[in-house]
């Protein structure tokens, strides 16, 4: 290996500063206003479907997640983040592909049986998910000090990826790993980027995504698997 590469640090590959990055959230919120309401409805709907928990609800969760991957990939990543950070465009395509694949799975996968979950488990997963999706967008506000930078699920990729990992548990185990790869790689990329940018508060979101994705890959509960 060329020893010259050892002299490079992550900051040598980052061509923008924290001001530009945090402005991305402000800009997209300004541009899509008042359609943020759809993102809020999606969060509540996914929470409700997690509580319901049957096969139809699972299809609904996957379709809504697919829409979130598509929206945040084609919107935030390709249109806003990509012009200042080229890898974000590549991730944008990956998010779109993930959304398309998830749509196919949601529509065509045949669940023969679904393990029963207790009402308590369903309610806590649904409410827990909504609470996390409600609070994590505020981390960009804490970082920037600007309410307009709130990072909504389905609109912005970091919160979308975080919210996606628990939702992937509704997938049959034999294909679940496929949909956890992108959150894993995105989490790694974002931790490195946000740490180098110095936006340390925001690192919490991709770090949590990364940890959850690893846990989901290593410890997939058998009760959620497809027994068909």
């Amino acid at each position: 290996m060329d020893s010259n590469w050892l002299s490079y640090s992550l900051s040598d590959f980052l061509m923008f500063g924290p001001e530009v990055f945090l402005r991305l959230f402000v800009r997209i919120n300004q541009d899509i206003w008042p359609w943020q309401g759809i993102a809020v409805i999606m969060v509540v709907a996914i929470g409700a479907l997690l509580v319901r928990g049957d096969i139809l609800a699972r299809r609904g969760i996957l379709l809504l997640m697919a829409a979130a991957w598509l929206w945040s990939g084609a919107g935030f990543l390709m249109e806003y983040y990509g012009p200042v950070n080229l890898p974000a465009t590549w991730f944008g395509w990956a998010f779109v592909l993930q959304g398309a694949l998830l749509t196919v799975v949601a529509l065509v996968w045949r669940w023969d049986t679904v393990a029963e979950q207790s009402a308590m488990a369903r309610w806590s997963s649904g409410i827990g998910w909504v609470v996390i999706m409600g609070l994590s967008p505020l981390l960009t506000v804490a970082q920037s000090g600007n309410w307009h930078s709130v990072a909504l699920f389905a609109v912005t990729p970091h919160v979308t990826a975080l919210g996606a990992v628990p939702c992937m548990l509704v997938l049959p185990r034999r294909i679940r790993w496929l949909f956890l790869l992108l959150p894993l790689v995105w989490g790694l990329f974002s931790v490195a980027t946000l740490w180098t940018l110095g936006t340390r508060v925001l690192v919490v979101i991709p770090a949590a995504t990364l940890a959850l994705a690893v846990l989901a890959l290593l410890f997939s509960p058998r009760r959620a698997q497809n027994r068909g």
Partner: protein
Amino acid sequence: MATELTRRKFLMALAATGLSLRLPSLMAASTGETITRTIPSSGETLPAIGMGTWRTFNVGGDQYLIDQRTDVLKTFFDLGGTLVDSSPMYGSAAEVMGEALDTLNARDKLFSATKIWTGDGDATREQDRASRRKWGIERFDLQQVHNLVAWQAHLETLQQMKANGEVRYVGITTSHGRRHGDFERIMEAEPLDFVQLTYNVLDREAEERLLPLARERGIAVIVNRPFQGGSLFQRFQSEPLPSWAGEAGCGNWAEFFLKFILSHPAVTCAIPATTKVEHMKENMGAMVGPLPDEQQRSQMADYVAGL
């Protein structure tokens, strides 16, 4: 003959002493005299402070930030700057520069410098064309091979382009002190108008071989990372300037760092980057007034090393 020292005489003498200390700087400022340097290969003069765009002009389609950067560029031109340096590596910086130049209608004030940054040795002209389109200019004043990437092929094409009048000057770049050995060999073997390298009060490796070689070979030198990517301010801004800084022509830390660089006889131009108009004004202040002499340069380096 004894002269009585009155309060009035004392104050007048004090004022005169203070004025004399600042006189060279004041004279330069009042006459609008700026520090310029000559490009050895042509004899053309350049203002000694240019502007870099690394990280600062890559703001994408953010109109609010584009307007802010346009103000920075306007200040740069208003205060006598001409050389602006960028690279295709810097994301949207070239498009933003093009938009700012459109707004200011200031292409006649510009000495445009960019780089070829691609591992494809056949893509030199294509990348030059793409950069010209983004900047909105007919040709670049200076095209450089970025970090020596595929340098043989790019340099050969750039020399042909120069001969055809498609670019005025040709150069190579490095940063962070990387590949100085290769850099030196290319400087010795190739006919270059410019080299760009990292040099500042802490990173002084270039003084050993590259800067003397540039003088010997008649190559203009652009200095990047004059503030070490901003870290010099983070480290030293809370510290006081030395009491003798005024004598060396330095009224603030920006001038201190930049005048240290400009006072090296091989240096043609330093290219600090900033996002703020106030910082641009401070940077351009280094282009006015006296420069430190050799003894003061040593004092400056020793002072910073001792902090």
